[in-house]
Symmetry: D2
Subunit: 343 residues, 4 copies
């Protein structure tokens, strides 16, 4: 591939968008970040100056007119994903979109069709955990039969309590989809990926324990969903926004011949302190720290797929099905009823 | 208390009964094992000879006629518990019974009344985990407010695959209550104890994955129940009989200000091996090994309660309520429906 | 063995002696604690009353005149061990002595001869770690060849900082032997046991870092000794009295085909706390907690050896050789020189 | 800094050199790999073609004539380091050199003078561990006083047994400096860095246990050095080439108020397997895997120092002093004597 570089424009320069942009500007091989776009003009200017990016936009449609670009990287707020994906595909670009695919079932089903129409383009969805070295290794080990048949998957997705205030401020004015669609969506995708089975039934419960604001928003501070997958496989999903010790992403797959766990203790590095409190390991502070490598690797995979003209393992269908399951969790939580998932 | 010794007769000399008997013969302070009883005559003879126990019985009623005894320790098969408890109380003895209190809701409600009628006697139920140093410490720490309000409890009770064959042989002819009443009952008790709340609703699923025999028995090899407790507190219970790595008892309580976990890795001792496979910790082989101290301490507590004329913290009510919840799990698993628990 | 009980008299009712006495009064099968002896009269009275012990002495020689006794258990201060062992043997008793065998090489070599003269009696030395389940398992695994040939042993023996003040008060008036003879002696014994080799050369260093009092006593707060054992096997010993996180006993044996570690993190039980500081495991507070089981099992082994008329695996020679090595460490620390050990 | 890029030429394209080159070609911000140099022509060609590098050399002196370059990155065999560093400095380049600084005390002292003469140039030595997130965090925490005064440092540097054969083949024809200069040098540097003290005395022992070839080479398969640092601080260094479980780099610093450990279990990622053998964590396979981030960060730091015209924290003096200490270890191992270090 030598020095061939894929020219990319990114939309969205928030916390995660900024990281993606920085990665593509400097750390992703064979990638050249040529354009940045954000409705916040200062973000655009800062990025252009700091990293020497030639093109800057505050209007997404204008960026799509730039014919030097080959690929569009979408890291804007969730409610724009579907529209921006479709526009970019129609304009002839390869597209990477951050998760979630969309906020409503109707729009994700619509965007799935758009992706189908442009099957010559690479479309990739940002389920970055699949590219984390630990998650990827577990996939290989399950597929190799190391734990026999997967029977049960348990997933924790707990956001740090430290970010709770800013989340609540944001959530008052922005529909995020709620705990299950916003937080648990990664885990719902992982469950489907590891179990190779679709969900059939779900019951979800939860509540507001320390922060009544969640109840007022119709959301849950901490919640749990139990899912019956095809073949009576069991899925247990715990999601929360008040994790005192940090960012806790834990996954376990129990098989007929063994069990694999990822992140049982979310230790951020190899350091242990001993003092009068005991033996202490610090935990991850947030997703940017925990999934630093995964964010890089998924961007590398996107670029490599374009260069090698092949499809990534995360498909638009994964986005649709995880959204469908997320909606079933949400419905169950809201109604208190067992919900059957139609596929 | 000096040298005052409580004279005890035990019924049941199976694996666990034998351990209890040995403990009381030699390791429980202020306790004298005066009589052993089993329908298997060789067990009685062996125990008498090996430990020098003066009285041996193959007939439980006969043992109850021995007026030298003060207390009866019941470690017989589950289906005899209720009847034997009631008889012993009626005959004027203090009574310890192994879990479960009974196999049917009707009988446990009946035995609860018997215990009430004999409130001058010590009655204790063998929920030994409450006496394990780790479980006891966690209770103290929750009660001290260390993790704020408990929000979610997750319990794993997984029996070693190595004992699966003998279990299946046994289960064909003996009704054990099934996975939730037999295995999960300890965890249901712990959840009530830690959360200080009663269950309101449950959904339970499961299946037979490696061993079809469980399906034929109408039971599950591995199962999970999600329980909504009062105040929307969340209970997650996983029970299984095919745990390849050994005996896995794990409990987690997530609170509004912290989380406590017990037995995340069921490591049997302080040894770690490093070899070409990696860093390896062996796991517990079974309940006698994992709860060695707890079995001793609960017997000590029983004897001390008698000597000090006070009640243990495990009451007959704990037996009734955990059975009620176990039955709800079982009903949900069998019908596939969400089950509401009437209290 | 039925109900045959070995009748024991104990001398020394300090912290450890009290625990031994309580164990023998109640928890050691086939053992009857018939006599207690201490120069502190209240200790004798308290033990007699609390546990109903028939005989009490403030004079050791008087206890040796009690012909009902069969065995003497020595838990007095270290400086009395040798004399009391010899007297008890001469008086015809089986003898258990707490470590160290003695404080001076001359006296331990003399007592070794006394033990030889009374080879019909059981003599056992309180190197209790050999009876800890983890240490015992590692011995079996090394002997089975699991890690090939042992190449290096590393031992940490660190006393909790919390007991430092009381130690310093005690040490001003009582010669304990110093850090290497008092603290490291267990590890020196373990190294010989695991490596099956004798020490040939040692260099020891150390200092007073937080507490100058150690320097004033001619002792070290924390010290390290590196020992060359026969066959160029390597021994690394770290001993200290200022361990902030508790009682830290850690042992590692590196072999040609694997490595075994004991107590890498001295976690006191199966509980883990997660809070804003991270994931926290409490550590052992002291030797009574860490070696609770080992103290019981060594007493059981002593009684069983008497009943079965056989010798324990810890011999008087182990006491002599570990003292010899301890003295070499001490000499090296005091002179700063490499010390050759003559055997 | 915008798009300003430092133009670099690298010499040495072995396993580590290849990684460095790849990093600088694609992953190090503000860095442009303009030239590659190796005596192995195919390596040069492959790198040029694969990554599109404009200049390729088999003659180091020729590369130094390329005036487009600003910096030289030295990853050649250890015996060339000193000469190549001096030549590059004389030719006016910034210089990064892989560790060790050199193989002989005389040459490292000479190169130290060369670096002094060119104080306007950035010179950096590849003690990459200082840039590993865990090691860097521990430095900050020690400096913040979290563990009080450092008292003892223990370092393990164990190479995987899997690479032993290739090492032995290589070592027969190439003087590597031996176990202490080649393997332990990183740890000697870390000890000086963390303790902020120089070594005064050392005793080193070791042997050939599984592979007699080491003895034939006058080297050790596994060895240990105990070092007395200024202020009686204690250093314990274990180095080896036969680590069955992988690449084991572990460091512990005991302070007067706490202890910090890095890499107690060298677990390669967040995955744990449970099977019939127990709970298993895989270990790191080698240095490229363990220090992937550190290699990147040190290169980033080199480039940033050039751009910001400042010096890195690793100085040429660190190279000289660690070599001096390494030689003292070697001398002690070879003579069996305690060696005093003159500074």
């Amino acid at each position: 591939m030598k020095n061939r570089k894929v020219k990319v424009g990114i939309v969205g320069l928030g916390r995660l968008g900024y990281r993606h942009a920085e990665n593509m500007a400097f750390r992703v091989p064979h990638c050249e970040l040529l354009a940045v776009c954000s409705v916040v003009e200062e973000e655009v200017k800062e990025a252009q100056e700091k990293w020497g990016i030639p093109y800057g936009y505050t209007d997404y449609d204008k960026m799509l007119e730039n014919r030097e670009l080959e690929a569009i990287f979408i890291a804007s707020p969730s409610r724009f994903h579907c529209e921006q994906i479709e526009k970019a595909l129609e304009a002839g670009f390869h597209v990477f979109s951050e998760k979630p695919l969309g906020l409503y079932l109707e729009e994700v089903e619509k965007v799935e069709k758009a992706v189908s129409r442009h099957s010559d383009k690479v479309f990739m969805l940002g389920f970055m955990r699949r590219y984390d070295p630990s998650y990827a290794e577990v996939k290989r080990r399950i597929d190799s039969g190391e734990i026999g048949e997967p029977v049960l998957i348990r997933c924790y997705g707990l956001d740090p309590a430290g970010k709770l205030d800013s989340f609540l401020r944001f959530a008052r004015d922005n529909y995020s989809g709620g705990l299950f669609l916003d937080m648990a969506i990664h885990d719902l995708d992982l469950a489907r990926w590891y179990l190779q089975a679709e969900a059939e039934e779900v019951w979800a419960i939860g509540g507001s324990y320390a922060y009544r604001e969640f109840a007022e928003l119709g959301d849950a501070e901490t919640g749990a969903a139990m899912v019956r997958f095809a073949g009576n496989r069991i899925g247990i999903f715990v999601a929360g926004r008040n994790c005192v010790h940090g960012y806790h992403i834990e996954t376990e797959i129990i098989g007929t011949k063994g069990t694999l766990r990822i992140g049982t203790v979310p230790e951020r590095n190899h350091v242990m302190l001993f003092n009068e409190k005991g033996a202490i390991k610090k935990c991850f502070e947030g997703f940017l720290e925990r999934f630093e490598q995964a964010y890089l690797k998924e961007a590398e995979e996107f670029i490599t797929c374009i260069l090698e003209n092949r499809k990534p393992s995360v498909s638009v269908r994964d986005g649709v099905e995880s959204t469908r399951l997320g909606y079933a969790c949400k419905e169950s939580f809201e109604t208190g009823r067992l919900v059957r998932i139609k596929s």
